[in-house]
């Protein structure tokens, strides 16, 4: 029973994809390939980018920039979220700042970053400022979701503060942090491409700028597909890790 329903689900998903490509193929017949390239042209473009080493080189640049910015956001955002959640003074101090970070338009960050730190480091900075609030807010919500009754239990049994943080708060925050990371990584690849497009000469975003100028629409599609695959891969990986590490008790 379980096997056959899985099969049906896969078949339906596959049919959806086939329909999508068929529609794309048909549409590309009506328009010039500069407007809508055919699926085959895009595949050829991807193969071309892969064999020339462009895919690898620009992809690597973007991934390194993305993960660097994200890494900074994660390593600063996690303790900051915990601090804001646990300490009312820190909450009053930092929460408005986090909200300001969250609502500041991307274009302002981009232009300011170009002035402050020079073009080459703009993508890392942009990823950092866009993902930091996502991490902080998720961790903070995790801390707030804490079960007061469990804290009361720990206080009756004289568990010290340090162990309460490690053995009650951190496990409670873990699924929230995972959700924050998934959200942040989704944003990372978009932010990195956008800021590369506007600020530097290498990376997926910059390659897209070149493709646009040369009217290589198939290349534009190819890079977009690379970004989509990157996003889907990180999303799947995180879902897998969450299942492995947290599902036994959640």
């Amino acid at each position: 029973m379980k096997n056959s329903s899985w099969l049906i689900k896969t078949l339906v998903q596959f049919t959806g994809l086939v329909l999508f490509f068929a529609l794309w193929q048909v549409l590309s017949g009506f328009y010039n390939h500069v407007i809508i390239p055919s699926p085959m042209e895009v595949v050829r473009s991807i193969i071309g980018q892969a064999s020339s080493g462009e895919l690898c080189e620009h992809g690597r640049q973007s991934i390194v920039r993305g993960l660097t910015g994200f890494g900074f956001a994660l390593s600063i955002g996690t303790p900051l979220g915990l601090l804001i959640g646990l300490n009312p003074v820190a909450a009053s101090l930092f929460r408005p700042v986090v909200v300001v970070f969250q609502v500041t338009p991307l274009i302002s960050w981009l232009l300011l970053a170009m002035i402050w730190i020079g073009f080459s480091r703009v993508p890392v900075f942009i990823v950092f400022v866009t993902t930091l609030p996502l991490i902080v807010i998720n961790v903070f919500q995790g801390v707030h979701s804490i079960d007061r009754q469990l804290l009361q239990m720990a206080s009756v049994f004289k568990i010290n503060k340090d162990r309460i943080i490690r053995e009650i708060y951190l496990p409670q925050v873990a699924p929230y942090l995972m959700a924050g990371i998934a959200n942040a990584l989704g944003t990372t690849w978009k932010a990195v491409a956008m800021s590369e497009f506007l600020s530097v000469q290498t990376g997926i975003g910059a390659s897209m700028a070149v493709a646009r100028i040369n009217l290589e629409t198939a290349d534009l599609f190819a890079w977009t597909i690379t970004l989509i695959v990157l996003g889907m891969l990180t999303d799947r990986l995180l879902a897998y890790l969450t299942r492995r590490k947290l599902s036994h008790w959640m």
Binding site: Q149, L150, Q152, M153, S155, V156, F157, K158, I159, N160, R163, E167, I168, P171, H248, W249, M250
Partner: protein, 247 residues
Amino acid sequence: MGGLIEFEQVNKTLGQTRILDNFSFSIEENKIFCIIGPSGCGKTTILQMLAGLEQPDRGLLKGLTGKRVSYVFQEPRLLPWKTVAGNLDFILRDELPPAKKDKLIDHYLKIMGLDGYRNSYPKALSGGMKQRLAICRAFAYPHDILLLDEPFKSLDTPMRLGLVRHVIKLWQTAPRTIVFVTHDIIEALLLGHRIMVLAARPTEILEIIDLDMPHDQRHMGEELLGSLYTKLLDLLDKENKKYFPEL
């Protein structure tokens, strides 16, 4: 023996509700003290004060200094990310050397029929098993005072009677102060050296019953227990007017 834990003119308001108003009573140390009464009569608040989780607004609590408290809450309050054994380890790790701790965990899991589940997570346990694990935890934790807040509420009758016997056995192996809050008259009669019957809103003591009969002789067929049962039932029956004034 013979020490007292005393509530003297204790006042307590939670939110808008005045729970205790100049409330006084005393608990004899190393005896089993049962509190019985309708919901909302302040039973849980009394336990929380004994555990130091709540402080009186006014009045005094005497005889608690240096006493270690263990607690069975109304809810199991288990850590979902720790296994059955891990939940016991959590509260014992700082108290006992590892070898002794592991022996104690084995011992109590066996007593409560949970030894086949030591590596399971609470998610996989039934409601009754979770509550038994919470009881394990409270028994295993070193204490002078054991507080139980309607601990057997969610369990079936054979399980309740079995657990009542376990509390008696625990007390017989090493007498300690036990404060047992319940709705159940039978549980109170089987366990208590003293039974305090409370009325709700305002909280007041309706009756205090001393029961010297040894635990081994307490069977519900016993004439004294039978007459006490009727007496307590009548007392609590009068309280129903507060719920249903028109009756």
